[in-house]
């Protein structure tokens, strides 16, 4: 009986190499794999027809629709509300928020000094607008034709919600992308 068992299992070969593979290599590979979670951002094309933009909010029937528009240009960010630019006090003819000095990633992934969009200031302005118009959820984002997609994504993130420590404040989650400024 003992003889048969030892002959049947055939454990004469050295399992060290296979065990190295199984116990060391595969867990190492698994831990070094970065599990990336894919998320999506919903964007709609401009709706033709009645929308919440066309109908003024119920509590202020005399107001024109908000039509909040954020435009990204080479010089900075311009914010339009009710077809009027929010002026920058220092530079009335320029963008609402000028680009500031900062750091960004270049093509190779290194951080370099460059002029970047002032996202914090934009969040401030958008937050104030939300406080003034709590029912409004639509925002139109537009940009110059050569603006990079990553900046559009950053602006969409900034205007979707604001993190106040632990609390999240919803700003304008319904984004409509409009054709670029020619």
């Amino acid at each position: 009986m003992g003889k048969r068992r030892s002959q049947g299992s055939g454990q004469d070969l050295d399992m060290t190499a296979a065990m190295n593979l199984i116990l060391i290599l595969i867990p190492l590979l698994l831990t070094s794999m970065e599990s990336v979670k894919i998320a999506v951002v919903n964007v709609a094309t401009p709706q033709i027809g009645p929308s919440s933009e066309a109908n003024p909010p119920a509590d202020r029937p005399d107001d024109k629709p908000l039509k909040l528009t954020v435009a990204l240009t080479d010089r900075g960010i311009t914010v339009f509300v009710r077809d009027q630019v929010i002026e920058n006090k220092d530079d009335p003819l320029g963008p609402t928020i000028l680009k500031i000095d900062g750091q960004e990633e270049d093509a190779e992934g290194k951080m370099i000094d460059a002029k970047v969009y002032d996202i914090d200031k934009l969040v401030e302005i958008i937050s104030d607008l939300k406080d003034a118009n709590p029912a409004e959820e639509n925002i139109i984002i537009t940009a110059e034709p050569n603006t990079k997609y990553k900046y559009i994504m950053k602006i969409m993130d900034a205007t979707r919600e604001k993190k106040d420590g632990e609390k999240k404040k919803t700003l304008f989650p319904n984004v409509v992308l409009s054709a670029g400024i020619a």
């Binding site: 065990m19 894919i38 998320a39 999506v40 951002v41 709609a44 094309t45 997609y149 990553k150």
Partner: protein, 193 residues
């Protein structure tokens, strides 16, 4: 006691050599067990690996959005938490536009060539992209006719490289709009949490 024969030198086997051999075999057997070395049962380890493999295959196969990142396609990060859905996917990389794993047109310097657009350089309508999208829509409509539970919802997932210019994005969205897509989902890497 060693007895030397004429042409052989070997140790004289003790009389009880059979018993000794059996004893040593038994000892080595127990010795092996107490060491816990060579007689290793790897059934459980193979179980773990098989289950891990099956799980990885399953999650790879059922992921609705399949992105192969590389120098050609580097998608941006976002704080969004929305889950991707299984829809028609348009992938806009640095060198080409691909619809559902079928290459459609070539992109150079963030622009589609004027010959591929209806109306020339300044136009928004990309002809081969529209053709591929219209075909995809037709396929979905046919499926809808056969199976009423599947509804064509006009949603298109756009996977775009983060260095692409806004102009290319508007062209793609306009062309998709002409093919009856009205809602878009932009795929991003989630940085939330």
């Amino acid at each position: 006691m060693a007895v030397k024969k004429a042409n052989e030198t070997y140790e004289y086997l003790p009389e009880n050599y059979e018993e000794e051999i059996l004893m040593s075999r038994k000892k080595s057997k127990t010795g092996r067990e107490s060491e816990g070395g060579q007689k290793l049962n790897i059934n459980s380890l193979m179980d773990i690996l098989t289950i891990m493999l099956v799980f990885l295959l399953k999650s790879y196969a059922t992921d609705p959005v399949n992105i192969t990142p590389g120098p050609d396609l580097d998608i941006p990060k976002s704080t969004s938490l929305l889950q991707p859905a299984a829809t028609v996917t348009v992938t806009v990389a640095k060198s080409s536009i691909v619809v559902d794993n079928e290459p459609v047109t070539v992109v150079k310097d963030g622009k589609v060539e004027a010959s591929q657009k209806r109306g020339g350089e300044d136009a928004y309508f990309i002809i081969p992209l529209n053709k591929a999208l219209v075909e995809a829509v037709e396929k979905k409509r046919r499926l809808e006719a056969i199976n009423p539970t599947i509804k064509f919802d006009g949603v298109c997932t756009i996977v775009m490289d983060k260095e692409s210019p806004y102009r290319l994005l508007t062209e793609v969205m306009y062309t998709a709009g002409q093919a009856e897509f009205s809602n878009f989902k932009f795929a991003t890497i989630s940085t939330a949490g």
